[in-house]
């Protein structure tokens, strides 16, 4: 770490962690409601809890990506950020929009469009905020001495993510067209441009942690993001099978979404190969765990579990059931949550000067969150498969089925408790690092712990 302005990333990471904690609390509210304990229904009905849970997910991940960009881009471009003050303005305005949206959800101030519940008036503020963010990143890159592939891929991901937000702001009279373009945002984000962001962060971390030559890592980064778009763009079709559009999507979506795991497989192999090939033994083992873990878990969650129900012949039964929740939880965790936690784990010692590289709390946080999330995924999966058979094959009524499968949500809550314990330990570690300092940034005052 060489640039003082990188310190601004710390505050984005802190906000991301705070929002992540809130997301988990609302997840518990939903989990308890599913086993009949919905005492908060008058104040936080399920649809409010769900909107908060999913939107906090999107916002904390985006906040983490922004923090990652503020940390990575100055180092890659070899220059200070063009304005730290404006970066703080962007952070505060982002937090304000987020708070207004989340509070608004409790008072019916929303749009019932899954993942895009933020009302359109606030959408415009989001656009302004993101434009400010992109202005700062692109301005820094323009001013910089060096333009690397890692920085380019990360920035392309962020620019495309901003552009793809726009189709979600258009009003359509038809529910079908509305859904069609909603997936332009949601799918092309999570199975498209966010993978560029993930690839960019992964590439940066592998260069730093393994010491493998940048040219080698960045060449394979191109191949991976190439595979991502080659499969992911037309793979959008797997959301179009059964929403009232042409049958051609059954073929196109089926073929291309079946190819989507290839990008994640390539990413997992890439990370493991670079780790083995690397001659450098970086002392930050916890960051290495999160980095390699992200590559492997994203392959299982997004790749394999996505493939398990992506073909139309299977999806016709699983579409709209808890099977989707199974895939969603493990995919978001592996692909995006873990990579954000990886860059935070890598950056914290460098920003604060406290080399807490190998402490037990950090390792417990890694394993408890991962085992807990795996258990939650299995619980969702068992509940989802049971739902498919009972509801769609045996023709039982929806609520009869829900009562039958509620036991799996007890298991889910137990696993979620383990997961939350891991997150609490991660937060304790985050707090123990303290705040960033100029001395640490410039490498003048570091202490091994």
């Amino acid at each position: 770490m060489k640039y003082k302005s990188q310190k601004v990333a710390y505050w984005f990471f802190a906000l991301a962690i705070l929002l992540f904690s809130l997301q988990i609390i609302y997840g518990f509210i939903m989990g308890f409601a599913r086993i009949g304990m919905d005492g908060l229904h008058e104040f936080i009905p399920f649809n409010t809890a769900r909107a908060v849970h999913t939107n906090l997910l999107v916002v904390w991940l985006l906040t983490g990506f922004m923090g990652a960009a503020y940390y990575i881009i100055p180092e890659e471009a070899q220059t200070e950020l063009i304005s730290v003050k404006l970066a703080f303005v962007q952070l505060i305005s982002l937090a304000l929009v987020g708070v207004v949206a989340i509070v608004g959800f409790h008072f019916n101030y929303w749009e019932g469009r899954k993942f895009l519940e933020i009302p359109r008036e606030l959408d415009y503020l989001v656009v302004v905020n993101v434009l400010l963010f992109l202005g700062l990143i692109l301005g820094t890159l323009y001013k910089g001495k060096r333009r690397t592939t890692t920085a380019l891929v990360l920035t392309m991901g962020l620019v495309f993510a901003a552009l793809l937000y726009l189709p979600g702001m258009i009003w359509f009279d038809s529910q079908v067209t509305d859904s069609f373009f909603r997936w332009w945002v949601v799918h092309l984000w999570v199975e498209g441009v966010w993978e560029l962001i993930m690839g960019g962060i992964l590439s940066y971390l592998l260069i730093k942690l393994t010491g493998v030559d940048r040219e080698v890592i960045e060449k394979w980064l191109y191949v991976i993001v190439g595979l991502t778009f080659l499969s992911g763009i037309l793979g959008t079709g797997h959301h179009y099978y059964f929403i009232g559009v042409n049958k051609i999507w059954l073929v196109v979506g089926g073929v291309f979404s079946a190819l989507e795991p290839l990008a994640f497989l390539a990413m997992a192999l890439f990370a493991m190969y670079m780790y083995k090939k690397g001659e450098k033994s970086h002392p930050n083992k916890i960051a290495l765990f999160w980095t390699i873990g992200a590559a492997i878990v994203s392959f299982i969650g997004a790749g394999l579990l996505g493939f398990a129900h992506t073909l139309p012949q299977t999806n016709i039964y699983t579409h709209g059931t808890l099977v989707t929740a199974m895939h969603g939880h493990y995919a978001f965790w592996g692909a995006y949550a873990m990579i954000v936690l990886a860059i935070i784990s890598y950056a914290l010692p460098n920003m604060t000067g406290r080399k807490r590289y190998n402490v037990n709390t950090g390792h417990y946080a890694f394993w408890l969150t991962n085992i807990g999330m795996l258990g939650m995924t299995v619980a969702f999966g068992v509940a989802g498969v049971a739902q498919v058979y009972l509801e769609r094959k045996m023709k039982l009524d929806f609520m009869d089925v829900q009562n039958e499968i509620s036991i799996h949500f007890v298991v889910l809550l137990l696993c979620a408790t383990m997961f939350a314990t891991g997150v609490i330990l991660y937060i304790i570690e985050f707090l123990r690092f303290g705040q960033p300092t100029d001395e640490a940034v410039l490498g003048e005052n570091t202490t091994e712990e």
Binding site: G36, R50, E111, G226, L250, D397, M399
Partner: protein, 143 residues
């Protein structure tokens, strides 16, 4: 062995080709001759119903066309399964609807709003969903 510039060409070329194909397929599938939605039957009531569906975030609990919260019943075929009077009763009641233990918000809708949502559900129920309409709500087939 693959060079970095070849890898870059693969990324940029592949992205461009698939993106153009995606745009072409979008235009094709949304063109009027391929309409599976009875688009000409989207009345003011259906539009009003969609608006109410959104402002109340019904999708946060229910699902429609398989999209939603998985917490409350799938409503694609609710018009066929339950009929307009039942739907209106649920939407207008001042007491939270609570079938077998799971509560719904009491929306206390006006007759006009409830009617708009009924028209919306009726329109949704007639969509051609490429076979999913036969799977999504098996109970409706027995009515």
């Amino acid at each position: 062995m693959l060079s970095k510039s070849q890898a870059r060409t693969f990324f940029l070329g592949g992205t461009l080709v698939t993106f153009l194909a995606f745009i072409g397929l979008t235009v094709y599938s949304l063109s009027p001759q391929n309409d599976q939605t009875n688009h000409d039957q989207i009345t003011e009531g259906v539009i009003r119903g969609k608006h109410l569906w959104e402002v109340n975030n019904c999708m946060g609990c229910h699902t429609i066309m398989g999209e939603g919260g998985y917490y409350a019943p799938e409503l694609t075929k609710v018009y066929e399964r339950r009929g307009p009077d039942f739907i209106k009763a649920v939407l207008k009641t001042p007491i939270p609807w609570q079938p077998r233990g799971r509560k719904m918000v009491a929306y206390e809708m006006s007759e006009e709003d409830a009617q708009a949502l009924v028209e919306y559900f009726q329109w949704i129920g007639e969509l051609d969903l490429n076979g999913f309409e036969r799977i999504v709500s098996p109970l409706s087939q027995d009515k």
